[in-house]
């Protein structure tokens, strides 16, 4: 464990063929040492080298894929503890639980409809988990069959009874469901079943120690397509366990914990459950199984997930185009800004606070802020003039006046020439908008 880049380099073919995406074998070796790539990217690596390097070469958390064909959910392959260091790669797979003794068809249909659109993004639930609440194999099998027929979403099968699992896996093996779970008593058979069907297997411990032991036993049987569950169910304990699993995998390369994780909510009250689920999304859970199918609870959770898993090194953009604040009329003011989300939301908030219904033209600057976009020639008079035309502003308002950010006052003359509009120079900062609006539009 923990080989340096140079130690790894000794085992590489030294052809510098670039097939791995790195300029040299040495660069590839360094990336491997940091867990940023995997050895299978090298086309010429020898079996002997593979053997020698396998532990150092594997990423700290294994990339695991649930599902089949085009409909695959990737999980794991995380390298960070804080999102400000580098992007979290795979958003938590949000999975709704359906008991096999309820009306499975109806519930699954309602889960299919959980699709939300906001700020130009579409959010949906990822998976359905069929829970063997009945304790009966035939009921479980029938529920799995019904669910598979009703939804294209991936499926998690939840039972620790090998017989029931065998029956259910049998009817949807080609969908490659996630099998939950192998425990200390049934792991040999569950592993065999998962292996035979090429399904990802969840391994459930009773605490961190027993989880590590059990993972090692399953791996010793020759299977590594795993997700892991420390078995804890209280919010605070799950938070601690998930933190330990992530830290030990990433910082210590502790192999037994180098897998995606799964967590189950326990709160009966659905509002409380939503908050419990939110903690698990925040802290390192790959598959989250929850009960609620209420839109009002899932929309904030899915929004939070979308926020948390954005790339901190890339600015987040809002949809460019014409946005309405309140119910603007032909007399309403027109503000121009970029489509960098923070800038846009600040401007929108302040414009809203003026209580004067308005239009905001969000120019596509690739999601970068006013001054940066100006410096980079992405927020130019030509572009703004073209957008004013493109969104049909001239038909929407009966004036030809637009407010531009004070930081780019220099664009005024050119923009007036390009657009034929009168350009008003607004405040430099969004917090000056209310005052500006009061003296100009009130």
């Amino acid at each position: 464990m923990g080989l340096t880049g140079l130690e790894i380099f000794k085992h590489l073919p030294k052809t510098n063929c670039k097939e791995c995406g790195f300029p040299t074998c040495l660069a590839f070796a360094m990336a491997l040492a940091n867990g940023k790539t995997s050895l299978d990217q090298c086309p010429d690596v020898s079996e002997e080298a593979k053997e020698a390097l396998s532990s150092a070469a594997a990423p700290p958390i294994r990339l695991v894929k649930v599902g089949a064909g085009d409909n695959v959910i990737e999980m794991g392959d995380e390298t960070e503890i804080f999102r400000h260091d580098k992007r979290f790669n795979h958003p938590t797979a949000v999975t709704i639980a359906v008991n096999d003794n309820e009306d499975v068809g109806a519930k699954v249909e309602s889960i299919n409809e959980l699709i939300f659109e906001r700020v130009g993004q579409r959010y949906e639930v990822d998976m359905v988990a069929i829970i063997n609440a009945s304790g009966d194999a035939a009921t479980f099998k029938a529920a799995a069959e019904t669910a598979a027929a009703k939804t294209a979403k991936n499926i998690t099968l939840v039972t620790e009874d090998v017989g029931a699992m065998e029956a259910a896996v049998g009817v949807l093996a080609e969908r490659k469901p996630l099998i939950y779970a192998a425990n200390k008593d049934n792991y040999e058979k569950m592993t065999e079943l998962a292996k035979a069907n090429g399904c990802v297997l969840a391994v459930k411990g009773e605490d961190l120690n027993s989880l590590a032991e059990l993972v090692d036993k399953v791996v010793a049987l020759g299977y590594k397509e795993l997700v892991i569950d420390p078995g804890s169910r209280e919010t605070s304990k799950v938070l601690a366990d998930m933190t330990q699993i992530r830290r030990l995998a990433v910082r210590k390369k502790f192999r037994s914990f180098g897998y995606p994780t799964i967590a189950f909510t326990t709160k009966e009250d659905l509002r409380e459950e939503m908050l419990q689920a939110g903690v698990y999304i925040s802290k390192f859970t790959s598959v989250l199984v929850l009960k609620t199918d209420k839109k009002e609870h899932l929309m904030p959770l899915l929004s939070w997930r979308a926020n948390l898993f954005t790339d901190p090194q890339k600015p987040v953009a809002v949809e460019p185009g014409l946005h309405e604040v309140g119910e603007p009329t032909a007399d309403s003011p027109v503000y121009v800004t970029t489509n960098f989300s923070l800038t846009y939301f600040l401007v929108e908030g302040e414009v809203d606070a003026t209580r004067i219904p308005s239009y905001i033209l969000s120019v596509d600057t690739g999601g970068i802020s006013v001054l940066t976009a100006y410096a980079d020639n992405k927020f130019t008079a030509e572009k703004i003039a073209a957008d004013i035309k493109a969104v049909g502003l001239e038909d929407k308002v009966n004036h030809k006046k637009a407010v531009i950010p004070g930081g780019v006052a220099v664009l005024k003359g050119k923009l007036e020439d390009e657009s034929g509009w009168e350009v008003m120079v607004g405040p430099r900062e969004a917090n000056g908008i209310q005052k500006f609006a009061k003296s100009n539009f009130a």
Binding site: R118, L208, K252, R271, V279, H297, S303, W304, N307, V316
Partner: protein
């Protein structure tokens, strides 16, 4: 093999700030509230101390709000025109740990209430409730600078948490806190360097005041850039634990103000897929609070009593020991 639990050893801790003052301490509060003091990242009890639970301050306005949706307004309909009764209801019925009193009526565009009017309201609210108070102006800097002095003077000895000192305008609030022994909210615009710089400026004005600063990192609502606030808070807390004394303050977040101006909260109709406004809005406020707690928020300013209820329950859960 046994798992070796990985515990971080941090060099430092977040300052503990006491809010409010009892009779013995020169005020009239029934009890004080301590915030901060953490020696670990949020709720990681296994490697350090989280000595004080995060608290919820409920927002009270000094005039009937015009723009609150009925679903939240209904909780306060009987007390709208009486901030003292409103505050009392928040504490007695809805379990508010603190009251955040907002002098909205001072807004020159609304009632343009005088400093004397505001002082009278403050006195009534102080009499009505025994919890520590947070004081916010109307948000218009010039007017807020006029009323903060008289308010601080009227509350002398109560150790109010005074809002808000900003980089370009920290002296009126910081001086008022210094003169009448209050604590102060230092607000920075989602920028860790400005947060630090502002604390340095305040400490240059008054060294003892450094121990009575609460950072407002400026938070955004869920779906509106909250991830920026989240990461700034995580970095600030990490800096605090690693010895940066100019970031080692408890943090406060104005959840209600951010959330309730957003479509997800107030739109009655919403998009067809958004569901019921009442449930959606309380979920949005609670989930925003949940995310901030995970980044180290110490004081949440909230509005909807139903959101407050579930967030407080979650704080109970998160405060359960998770030592190995």
């Amino acid at each position: 093999m046994a798992v070796e639990i990985l515990k971080e050893k941090y060099r430092s801790s977040v300052r503990e700030v006491v809010l409010g003052a009892t009779k013995e301490e020169g005020g009239t509060r029934a009890h004080t509230i301590k915030v901060g003091g953490e020696t670990a990242l949020p709720f990681l009890h296994f490697e350090g101390k989280i000595p004080n639970r995060p608290v919820v301050a409920m927002e009270v306005l000094d005039m009937a709000p015009e723009d609150w949706p009925p679903s939240v307004k209904s909780f306060f309909e009987d007390v709208y025109n009486d901030p003292a009764a409103w505050a009392k209801k928040c504490v007695d019925e809805y379990g508010a740990d603190m009251i955040a009193l907002r002098f909205k009526s001072a807004d020159p565009d609304l009632k343009n209430a005088s400093a004397e009017d505001c002082v009278a309201t403050l006195k009534k609210v102080l009499e009505a409730v025994g919890v520590p108070l947070i004081i916010y102006g109307c948000g218009k800097t010039e007017k807020d600078n006029e009323i903060i002095g008289p308010l601080a003077e009227a509350g002398e000895g109560e150790n109010l948490l005074l809002g808000v000192a900003e980089q370009e305008n920290f002296k009126p609030v910081a001086s008022a806190a210094m003169a009448y022994k209050h604590s102060v909210i230092a607000q920075s615009p989602i920028d860790i360097n400005i947060a630090k710089q502002l604390n340095i400026l305040i400490s240059e004005l008054s060294t003892p005041l450094l121990e009575r600063i609460v950072i407002d990192p400026t938070i955004a609502a869920l779906g509106y850039g909250i991830e920026y606030s989240y990461s700034i808070m995580e970095r600030a807390r990490f800096g605090a634990l690693n010895g940066d004394r100019m970031l080692a303050m408890p943090m406060i977040g104005n959840v209600s103000q951010e959330v309730w101006s957003k479509k997800e909260a107030f739109l009655e109709e919403g998009e067809p897929t958004w569901g019921d406004q009442a449930e959606r809005s309380l979920a949005w406020e609670a989930a925003t609070s949940m995310a901030l707690l995970q980044a180290g928020m110490d004081i949440l300013v909230m509005r909807n009593p139903e959101s407050v209820k579930i967030v407080k329950k979650q704080i109970d859960d998160l405060m359960q020991d998770n030592s190995y």
